[in-house]
């Protein structure tokens, strides 16, 4: 293991944070330089990340690659332990790709009231926090990265958001913080219950798999950490911060929020809660499944009632994350693979949807479906076409990325893990509910397209000089569109990466 392999993922993760400091030091009037730096920094980090993904040994049985485990805070037994396995790799790379695309988008669009420097610096801080969460293998380190995203996102929503931004920002902050403090409590409890005391995720995993934690303890600890993750996902009924945060956030904020930050919650379930507390997971699985099924149906119904385009996409996120959680609740390898696939697909598709809605708003200056009034296809054929394509991907059309995550989640809930054999009937009910959800999802997306894309251009927009998709948009969108098609056709691109790690992780639940 040479020095580069040990430090590469840390360099990629912290590069944006260093870049943020550099950007802060650039003089205010060098607007182009600031935006250019944003692109260069995110590009450099992405190049390292993609390079590592190519370098990643997919056939190896090693649990962690590019691992670095060194002293950090001996006083409290916290170590700087980072590494990558098949589960974290797709999400980690996705973080860098989406951030890079966001930086390109910012080349043209900095939301009101400007302040590009602060905007990009916060976005880069956010990138470090998100990327770090996916590589941390020490609970304290994990928690620090996890919380690192709160402050930048609070300011991104609070400064650059729309009318109701302050309310949405503080609601987002309080909700997530409330969940995460209980998560911290759960972490500490696990630390003190493990012998010897450790915050190391792998050691705790081994200890948990060996039956080190009593069932009673697991029930409590799982409840505490799951609360933190559930708020972040967000699972119904903890989702109410999400529509507000998404609706008020600037486009970039929504893209990163939907694209990556929500995945931190589901990733937490897969990485921390399930393997360390298997009996807790088993006990809670039917409840998680129930809440997921409710989320799928509830979100679809809520979407049918939305008048605001962005709010509609936000609620659709709740539904999609419901499918991801349903996959996790089954505790099967297929379910977890479905979940990770669903996370990536949702990141690409919903990120892209928020880009589209942002661009529509940038032209129409309204997000109200009624005010746009239809005719997008006629007025802006390219934007309308892309929007239609991504919406259809989102409703789960076979052949596009959205399909596999959903269908595999439904498939896995037909036959949940061996340890859940008592609840097979229940999970099949969830499957039916999820199936109804997919129909409703198709319904609200098609209805939305009908109201926004179809029809004739209303009188008031007929002569408006809206530009169709511009260069910065093409550059930041094409990679996402290509990925949506590619993952739809070759799902192995993700599942091939995750499967090995998932199989070894889920052996616990085979029953």
């Amino acid at each position: 293991m040479n020095a580069w392999e040990e430090s590469a993922i840390s360099i990629a993760t912290f590069l944006p944070l260093v870049g943020a400091l550099v950007i802060v030091l650039v003089p205010k009037d060098k607007e182009r330089l600031v935006r250019g730096l944003g692109i260069v920094i995110t590009a450099a980090a992405m190049v390292i990340a993609v390079g590592l993904a190519i370098d990643f040994d997919y056939g190896s049985g090693a649990p962690l690659q590019f691992e670095l485990n060194t002293r950090w805070i001996p006083a409290i037994d916290a170590r700087y332990h980072v590494g990558i396995d098949g589960i974290s790799l797709p999400l980690w790379v996705l973080t860098f790709v989406l951030s890079f695309l966001c930086a390109i988008y910012t080349w043209r669009y900095v939301p009101s009231p400007g302040k590009t420097k602060a905007f990009l610096a916060l976005m880069l801080m956010l990138e470090t926090g998100m990327a770090g969460t996916f590589i941390a293998f020490d609970l304290v380190l994990f928690f620090i990265f996890w919380e690192l995203v709160l402050v930048p996102m609070y300011f991104l929503i609070g400064i650059w958001g729309s009318e109701n931004r302050e309310y949405a920002a503080i609601k987002f902050f309080l909700y997530t913080l409330f969940g995460s403090v209980f998560m911290l409590l759960g972490f500490l409890a696990m630390y003190f219950r493990a012998a010897p005391h450790t915050f190391d995720i792998l050691e705790l995993q081994a200890y948990g798999a060996g039956g080190g934690f009593t069932r009673a303890f697991q029930l409590i600890a799982f409840g505490a950490v799951a609360l933190g993750f559930a708020v972040k996902v967000p699972m119904w009924p903890f989702h109410t911060w999400l529509p507000d945060a998404h609706t008020e956030a600037p486009t970039i904020g929504s893209v990163l929020l939907a694209g990556i930050m929500l995945k931190m919650g589901t990733y937490g379930f897969v990485r921390v809660a399930l393997p360390i507390l298997p009996e807790g997971a088993q006990a809670y699985a039917p409840w998680i499944g129930l809440l997921s099924a409710i989320a799928i149906v509830y979100a679809a119904l809520a979407c049918l009632a939305q008048k605001d385009l962005k709010r509609l996409i936000a609620f659709s996120s709740v539904g999609h994350m419901g499918f991801v959680m349903l996959g996790i609740a089954t505790l099967t390898p297929i379910g977890i693979n479905a979940a990770i696939f669903g996370m990536v697909a949702h990141g690409l598709i919903t990120g892209m949807l928020f880009f589209c809605v942002g661009s529509v708003y940038d032209r129409y200056h309204t997000r109200q479906i009624a005010e746009i009034g239809g005719g997008l296809m006629q007025k802006l054929p390219y934007l309308g076409g892309i929007f239609a394509f991504v919406s259809i991907a989102s409703l789960g059309l076979p052949g596009l990325a959205g399909f596999w995550g959903e269908v595999m989640a439904l498939l896995s809930s037909y036959s949940p893990a061996g340890v859940l054999s008592d609840q097979v009937g229940l999970f099949r009910v969830f499957m039916v509910a999820g199936g109804i959800g997919t129909i409703l999802t198709a319904g609200y997306f098609l209805w939305m397209l009908q109201r926004v894309n179809m029809g004739t251009v209303p009188e008031e927009w007929r002569d408006a000089p809206f530009p169709d998709v511009v260069a910065a948009e093409w550059v930041s969108w094409v990679p996402l569109l290509v990925a949506i098609v590619a993952l739809g056709i070759f799902p192995r691109l993700i599942i091939g990466v995750t499967d090995g790690a998932v199989e070894s992780l889920m052996r616990l639940f085979a029953g």
Partner: protein, 487 residues
């Protein structure tokens, strides 16, 4: 009794006493340039700091073991002297431009700090009492230092009346304790209380502990003895409020730590529930009342009350297990030190702003991001740190307390949950000032003029808070410092 005084052990106090006398003469002889008192005072503090550094690692005691210099004492002395430097730095322009009697002010301030310096060395009820009064009595006068301002007069008077009352209660407790044990030395009291006490004496001893705890409860503004603090902080000059919220409070805690861990550890079953209740009330009421505040100093005052609740929490976790008590002790001490850095920084920013606004409603912070970006970033860091958001230093303070609470199990977990909920609530008001600074439009257009010294100490405090947050190992040598808790 022929005593040899260890002059090296009391050198920091001696230097500071000499400086105090010199400073008092400044007003009399240098009328035109009485601001000169500040550099003079600063020189004395720095000299005292250097003298304290020569004591690092030493273990000395003098005056018949009633004055002890050990790691605990040296650490707190270094801390108090650093706080003194900051308070002096933010005082210069405030009092020079305010046209007050500067020599008098610096004399009082240093006298208070002399009390602070003595406090962590006081291992005798009498010395402890003298130190405490030395901290408080000049404080009464300093709180009322804006003589033409009615609020300031009210601040001083309230502080005085409550202070005297609490002193009386505490003194009563101390006399009872002497009656029971026949000793004033803390270590001897500890030995006496650990032995078998007769039935009646046991009750008396518990009553004495209760009275002394109540007395210190006033000093550290624990609920229900907190009501003087917001009015006093608001009325007092801002640098004085900064002193009261940090050094004065920390001195109270230093005294409390010594009493509880040296003199009264045997009775922990009696006093841990008291501290549990005090802690819960203090953090909860402090936080919830803070939510209603519309004035910056009052907000910081309630914040300091709530924070006192977090500092009191570890006291409720003491057991007979000395190894665990080490961690408990370290958690409380570390919290006090980190809290002081964050709060001092926040008060420095408020001092800077007090130059253009006397009443200091939060709305006066509107749009400061445009006019004073460095102060805005610093204030945001301090507020997030006080709320305990990583990666700021305040997170580790909270983390250590959570840690010992969870380790204790049972009641500890319950206390931890209450503290967690409180920390979440606190973010709502801690963000009020950054929100005004960043989200609102400025009320004035002209550039903001902040004195160089104030900006300087603000910046240093901010760097310290972030540095502790990123590399908390900086604090790792604190746990071994808890020489008070030994087998």
């Amino acid at each position: 009794m022929n005593q040899v005084i260890d002059y090296h052990a009391i050198l920091p106090e001696l230097i500071l006493s000499g400086t105090i006398v010199l400073v008092l003469f400044v007003d009399a002889f240098l009328k035109e340039r009485s601001w000169f008192a500040m550099p003079l005072a600063l020189t004395g503090v720095v000299a005292s700091l250097i003298a304290t550094l020569t004591l690092v690692g030493e273990h000395r005691s003098t005056f018949g073991d009633s004055f002890v210099v050990d790691d605990f004492a040296v650490m707190f002395k270094l801390f108090f002297l650093s706080v003194a430097i900051v308070v002096l730095a933010i005082s210069l322009r405030y009092f020079r431009d305010g046209g007050s009697y500067q020599g008098e002010y610096y004399f009082l301030l240093l006298t208070s700090f002399l009390g602070c310096l003595m406090m962590p060395s006081s291992r005798d009820l009498l010395v402890l009492f003298i130190s405490l009064e030395l901290v408080s009595a000049p404080g009464f006068l300093m709180a009322a230092f804006r003589k033409t301002d009615l609020r300031s007069n009210e601040a001083g008077l309230k502080f005085f009346l409550i202070g005297v009352l609490s002193t009386a209660v505490m003194l009563y407790g101390m006399s009872l304790m002497y009656g029971v044990t026949g000793a004033t030395n803390l270590a001897q009291i500890g030995v006496a209380l650990a032995g078998d006490l007769e039935q009646g004496k046991e009750t008396l001893a518990l009553a004495a502990i209760l009275f002394i705890t109540v007395g210190f409860g006033f000093k550290v503004s624990a609920v229900p003895f907190q009501f003087w603090a917001p009015d006093t902080y608001e009325g007092a000059p801002v640098p004085v409020a900064a002193f009261l919220a940090t050094a004065s409070k920390a001195a109270g805690f230093a005294g409390l730590l010594q009493l509880m861990f040296v003199a009264f550890p045997a009775q922990f079953e009696f006093w841990t529930p008291i501290f549990a209740v005090l802690s819960i009330l203090t953090m909860t009421i402090g936080n919830f009342v803070a939510l209603q505040q519309r004035q910056a100093v009052r907000l910081l005052a309630y914040s300091s009350i709530a924070q006192a609740g977090y500092m009191l929490l570890p006291f409720a976790l003491v057991t007979a297990d000395q190894a665990a008590n080490q961690d408990v002790f370290a958690a409380s001490t570390t919290y006090i030190l980190i809290y002081a850095v964050m709060t001092l920084g926040a008060f420095a920013v408020v001092t800077a702003l007090s130059r253009e606004s006397r009443a200091l409603p939060i709305s006066d912070f509107d749009g400061l991001a445009k006019r004073a970006p460095v102060l805005t970033v610093a204030m945001t860091v301090f507020m997030l740190a006080l709320a305990g958001i990583p990666p700021m230093g305040g997170f580790w303070a909270k983390f250590l307390v959570f840690r010992v609470a969870v380790e204790r199990g049972g009641i500890g977990v319950a206390l931890a949950v209450i503290m967690l909920v409180n920390s979440v609530v606190s973010i709502a008001y801690y963000l009020a000032i950054p929100r005004a600074m960043i989200f609102q439009a400025p009320q004035r257009e002209r550039p903001f003029a902040s004195p160089v010294l104030v900006t300087g100490v603000t910046f240093v405090a901010m760097v310290a808070v972030v540095a502790i947050g990123i590399y908390p190992e900086l604090l790792a040598h604190f746990p071994p410092l808890s020489t008070l808790v030994g087998p």
